[in-house]
Assembly symmetry: C3
């Protein structure tokens, strides 16, 4: 895992500019406090700018104009992004392909791309297709007729149900269920008659799905997760939803059936939206909120039911004072009655 | 999968009445917009009645009295139910039994019904009993001494813990855990002493359990899910709960320990109820609500804690106006003080 | 499973005192109502004290000073704890070790302690280490380089990701995912760049983790669950969290990233806390609440956002009366205007 890179090589990788010695060698990264000689560090939060002077790192990634205190510097517009990229460079290795390992089960008519790995205990059923460099960890189950793109990682014990389609560079963490039946029943007197869910799920390129999420297949057509969207753990996405590109869906969120989410929408933890709604691009839904109506692009809402977030902040500060307000109201009522009596008696 | 049925055959299957040509052949179904010749369609929402005139379908399922615009019609009281039944007829096929497949593990003294399928990577431990036509998908694990009825489907990576009992025609989706230990501890100074959970879970006939749900075994006796109840994804049902028949429990609901739910109760998404309560038949719990007291039959509640739903709707419309109300209250207080001062000065 | 113990033996085990015949034999336990001759019962709730007189049990566990109605008695300070201990004594048996069973997959350089059991369909990848008497149920997956202590039970289909560390006497229920990637991305224009999560999870001794929980690995260092903490089902614990000792985290709770929880903190069902906060020892978070600020030790809070629980109780009783309050406010405004007009006209 050891690797040496010159500062110039790192600056090229980060699309940044070297200030100082471009030939200095860097073998890893660490925080301003923990970095040692030979390592690079970064300043993402201006609050810690003073630490740049004292860090033992051999180089520092800084935003434009920050004081380098004479250190070797890579200047870049977004040091936090640079940190993520350096962490990837120094720490992330593609696992060596293992092929279909003993103890894996691969059904009939399965098309395997180049350099796949299927671990022991993993199952790929008939007619599925895996792209190049796909890794299927132990216990993961790919049902019949699934299509998986290139460079996809399916972690242990995840399930992809029949005919679903997974794009390229998708990461699906453990325990996820993609393509389970949507929750649809027709009332039949006292009982519920199951509506067969014959649609599929499509997960587009560069999506990441957190552990133990559930994404249901559509009743008739497609439940879709847009390109680049990132989903945290234990999230529920119901049948027929259309999630846009580059959304952020934090843990334990629930998105009810047939709702359409725009691009770059953020759902904070444990929030939810009811079914058959449309949420505009770049909206943000506050933690634990429940959206019950359509939202235009750029909305920022909180509460159950959700409304304007700034108004919610004001309201939330007042709610705990309701007992006091109620008491005041009672007192005012009394004082008004006294005034009325006084005036009546004077008539 | 191709199949032709005469309109009369379909009417008999749906318990409906043909208006038009009973011999017309139907090979599938689609929406009013998408249906082609040879297909049947349906009108479930009166809003779309005008589309009946323009659909290309060879026949239409209509409610009594709706205008068929001269089309071949099956008249039936509940076209939405008819849609579910037609979808089942045209799209759902029982998988061909495969027996215990290579790579499946079946323990000692396991009783297998006729025509079972146990997929590779599935495990059925000692002393369990599977009914006829049971399908156990890959990675599903049936612990020791479990009893499973006829026509049950256990999807991939679901776990049924020891001694639990599953009825007939039950569908359990992927990643479900049935019979994990209830959450019970006795305080022992600073520490918690585990109370062994020696009861079981009974899932009655015709229940469907969504992906990644958890249903805990009772401390001593039985956690029970009543006949025909449908449970969405990521639902938590704690130990000793008694859930009635034909309930609808939507995604991410939590039902705390020892609570007793009547028949035909609906829990909307992310709602919850605290432990040791009784919820009457035909009650409805609003999305994200938290029930903290017993509810009589027919209750309709929302809020945290939950109260009458209509009152909650009124309240919810006022909550965002609290800052304004508080301001008004302050203004009134000032105006009253002014009036009081005025009157005092006149004394 | 049958076992006979003298009352004296049980009193010694429970650290209690016999009143009556210490030689009476006991073969099991049951509730006051259900117990039969030869069984022992217990009184945990004073409400049922009268049942002590009528129980058929051969002995009763009572708190100090309770009326034994002439029964054979074990007196102990905490009869509920005694019940838990007796249930353990009579009902819990360590399973007989089975070794690595056929159909299990154990990778290279795996260190196995004495008397381990690895079930068929379980996978332990290269370089992991299992302590003595560890049981790995079917379908569980232990990634590379994991360390597991002694007397640990990993239930079916649970996943422990690479390099995580599990203490002694830990119980992890089915479907749990420990060490999945934390949810961290750096914005890169419209897209999200994944921040590699290179830290681990440490689960300390005597922790129990409920079914289908997710505990994410730290970005750089450690997500830690303190000794003796008990976690219910479907709980989300995000990256970098530090959970103290002997906490109680009820089902469907969400703890956001980098939050630090003290000792003996209780999170009731579906509650949550935002990231980067500190929650003091012995705090209690009410069901469905959302904590949005640091809490000192001994806090008792509810609400979204959460505040003092007693204040929340008062407020919650008033919220449903908001429509009435608003109406009163309008009426008062009118009455004040009338008074003002009256006085103005008199000027």
């Amino acid at each position: 895992m050891h690797m040496n890179k010159s500062l110039q090589e790192l600056a090229d990788y980060l699309d940044g500019k070297v200030i100082g010695d471009p030939s200095v060698l860097v073998s890893g990264l660490a925080s301003l406090d923990d970095a040692r000689e030979g390592e690079i560090t970064f300043l993402a939060n201006p609050r810690y700018a003073a630490k740049v002077a004292s860090t033992k790192a051999s180089a520092v990634v800084l935003p434009p104009g920050a004081d380098g205190h004479g250190k070797n510097v890579i200047e870049t517009a977004n040091p936090y992004l640079a940190f993520a990229k350096l962490l990837t460079l120094f720490h992330v290795r593609s696992p060596k392909p293992q092929g279909v390992m003993p103890g894996a089960f691969v059904g009939a008519n399965v098309a395997l791309g180049a350099d796949v790995t299927v671990y022991p205990g993993a199952t790929v059923l008939d007619g599925s297709k895996l792209g190049d460099r796909v890794v299927i960890y132990p216990g993961a189950v790919v049902y019949q007729g699934v299509t998986i793109g290139d460079d996809v990682t399916i972690h242990a014990n995840t399930v992809i149900r029949e005919r679903c389609i997974i794009g390229n560079r998708v990461i699906i963490h453990s325990g996820v269920v993609i393509g389970s039946d949507g929750f649809g029943y027709a009332p039949d007197g006292e009982q519920w008659f199951k509506i067969p869910q014959v649609g599929i799920v499509i997960i587009e390129d560069d999506v990441e799905v957190g552990a133990n999420c559930t994404i249901d297949r559509a009743a008739l057509e497609v439940t879709r997760i847009g390109k680049g969207t990132k989903i945290d753990n234990l999230v529920q996405i119901a049948h027929n939803c259309q999630i846009g590109e580059n959304c952020m869906i934090v843990a334990q969120v629930g998105i009810a059936g047939s709702t359409k989410i725009g691009k770059h929408v953020t759902f904070a933890g444990q929030s939810a939206v009811v079914g058959h709604l449309t949420i505009g691009d770049n909206s943000m839904i506050g933690a634990k909120s429940g959206v019950a109506c359509n939202l235009p692009a750029g909305s920022l809402v909180s509460g159950i039911p959700a409304y304007d977030h700034r108004q919610w902040l004001k309201t939330s500060a007042i709610v705990p004072k309701l007992p006091e307000m109620k008491k005041t109201l009672g007192t005012l009522e009394k004082r008004i009655a006294d005034l009325e009596n006084l005036l009546n008696s004077k008539k």
